[in-house]
């Protein structure tokens, strides 16, 4: 009966864990698509993910081995032997507080650059500061985009020649671009899963979000904040064009937007 626990902790659970671990690289660690980030900053974020994953794996295996050792040796001891209580042992407490502390401190320092690059305006790539291409308005339950007319810059107040689009965000590929994120009602979250970009849209705030699509293509945009009964409907698409095509596309969008429908 005692060995039952030993079997559970050292056999079933670790075996299960190992099987899952062996399978996950094949499942791209749960990442969508080919498992590689479609944006430049996403590559750095993925790197941080793997660093944490490695640390967690080492800690997990270490603690499991230690626990298995304790259970195994304890189960063969005579039942009448006095137990040793480690509770309150200053040295041990120090060890298992300081080591995780050091790990967390390392992570905090190690990720600072990536974090700042994504969040702090001063650390943005130069192009992201000037390339403000659209305002993204989240609302129950869709995404409405507002672009400046070709050749103009995005103003905070809607302009008479602005262009509008729903559930479609067009960007140039291969260059950092910034969108201004807003919400017209409740909280939503701008999430580009394949680019590893996620930012909450908060009522009353205009939040800049930058990203760079590495390749031209279509990327999903979804809402990642449960925002109401229609939350599941809030899917859109980001279309990254080669830069030259992007210009042409924006021009055609402008023509379409100001179509007077006159047929001679």
């Amino acid at each position: 009966m005692k060995r039952l626990w030993w079997i559970f902790f050292l056999m079933i659970w670790p075996v299960l864990a190992l099987v899952v671990c062996a399978m996950t690289p094949g499942l791209k660690w749960g990442f969508p698509g080919d498992g590689l980030s479609d944006s430049t900053i996403g590559v750095e974020i993925d790197h941080l993910f793997y660093v944490i994953l490695i640390i967690c794996t080492v800690v997990f295996i270490g603690t499991q081995v230690a626990m298995g050792y304790v259970l195994w040796t304890a189960s063969s001891r005579p039942a009448d032997r006095r137990a040793w209580y480690s509770h309150g042992n200053h040295k041990l407490e120090m060890i298992w507080t300081v080591i995780p502390g050091i790990i967390l401190l390392f992570l905090a320092l190690y990720q600072t650059r990536t974090w700042a690059e994504f969040r702090m305006n001063s650390a943005y790539p130069e192009a992201a500061k000037t390339n403000i291409i659209a305002e993204v308005n989240a609302r129950q339950f869709e995404w409405r985009m507002r672009y400046p007319a070709p050749g103009k810059t995005l103003e905070r107040k809607p302009q008479i020649d602005d262009m509008y689009q729903v559930n479609e965000l067009h960007v140039p590929a291969g260059t950092p671009v910034t969108i201004q994120l807003r919400t017209q009602d409740v909280q939503h979250s701008f999430f580009l899963p394949t680019m590893r970009i996620k930012q909450d849209a908060v009522p009353g705030m205009i939040i800049p979000v930058w990203f760079e699509a590495k390749e031209p293509g279509e990327y999903p945009l979804v809402c990642a904040e449960l925002c109401g009964w229609g939350h599941y409907k809030m899917g859109a698409i980001v279309i990254a064009h080669p830069p030259a095509e992007y210009e042409a596309y924006m021009k055609s969008l402008h023509e379409e937007q100001f179509e007077d429908g006159y047929i001679e």
């Binding site: 339950f141 809607p158 008479i160 729903v166 559930n167 229609g230 809030m234 859109a236 937007q257 007077d260």
Partner: protein, 512 residues
Amino acid sequence: MLNRFVAQNFLSAPANASPWLLLVCLLAGLAGCEQVQSDFVFNEKTQELLPEAEVKVKNTLVSSFGSPAQPTIPAFFPVDRGQITLEIADFDPEKPTELLIEPVETDVDLVGKKLQFLFDPEDQFDVTMEAIEEELPDPIAELDGITIAAYDAESGKLTLSKALPDLELIEPGLELAANPNYKLHQGQFLYEQHCQHCHGVSGSGDGPTARYMEPKPRDYRKGIFKFTSTGSRDHVSTADLKHIIVEGIPGTYMPSFKLLSDESLDLIVNYVKFLAMRGETEGMLNVEVGLDFNKKVLADELEGVTDPKEIEEITTEFKEDMNEFLEVDYPEIAFFGQLDLADAWIEADNEDAIVYASVPQTDPYGPSAADPSLTSIENGRILYLGKDAQCASCHGDGGKGDGFQTRQLQKRREGGDFTVPGLHDDWYNPLKPRDLTSDIYRGGRRPIDVFRRIYVGIKGTPMPAFGGKSLTDQQIWDVVNYVMYLPHEDTMPIPKLPKAEASESPAVSSIE
């Protein structure tokens, strides 16, 4: 070993109620998962008919349109039913369970599929009426439920599940529809997934989420859709409906369904049309029958009559009249009424039904084509405030949607006042005129969209059609330019023409 451990913990103590509790929870959960059978509902007007008439109307609706599980529609309605069309090559009345058809190429297995005979609707109607007159069973009804029992692709021989009646209409060249309502089924499935929670099973705009919404989701049953590219008296076009589903309606709860596949979008549009046609048919029958034979008419006739004998007499006579009407006139009214509705839908998809401007849009900052002494925006402003268009009476002088009409009691169409001041739509929901400064354009924000809103009006609302009547196309463009300028009024001064004399006349003085 593990099992014993589990078993000991849960079953060793008979007093322990937890397994039973678990069982109860599971069963309760399963009960909650039971499939709800939803069905089309009939509108209140149908319930107001006298029982015999009510049954007739309901029967017509069920036989024409089926149920959500078995949607069907007469072939003359312009809905894509997704049928496989076959053509009779030969029919030998001696062998009534066999039909020879022209060879068809289809990957769909025809065996087991329903088969419908696409007679000319009027011929078919004549056959039915003749049978009724001679008090014989309707041979058309005998065709119901025929399926294909076997099909030989080599010879084109169809074997039917039951014998065909003796009918002259079944002859070579006649078209057949196998699996006749396939696409309605598919559409119903998608509609249920994406639309039903707001628009309701019958398209009556009363799904479970509808109560949280302002404005209310559209009730399709009047066949009225607000934003159309078709003329003011026309139905909505298929393209208009698809446009709304793809683009959504900003400023309302109708979201965009742009990411659905084109095929799914078409199926949904198709099913929405189907629901609208069903609702319109019901409305048409209510008017035709209800005018003379609803409960209220009888009650009116009996008003003040106290003698039981007289009541009996009046009631009997009334019922006799009604039964005669239902037997003689009703089938014709129901059939031709549906035919007319189908025609209206067909016409809406006609190229000529679409409204285009006869002149290109005037440059908002340049001289107006209607009054060259003013810029287009300036002239638009004069028209906006003026008597012909009277935009300001509802939309307000500043375009805020606060004109004096919003504070007045309005008349109901069938008489009497609304209880709440302000405007109402045809569904009797209170309606605010659009705040034109909000920069939100529900029916689309292209100049042509706004032009059409003014030209054909917004159907089902007090927004009238100005095109071809009170405003010329040139004038409409001026109003479009002014309306689209309104949200930017605070940052852009009204553009004036460079000439001094042109800008001298202030807008107000030009209004008579």
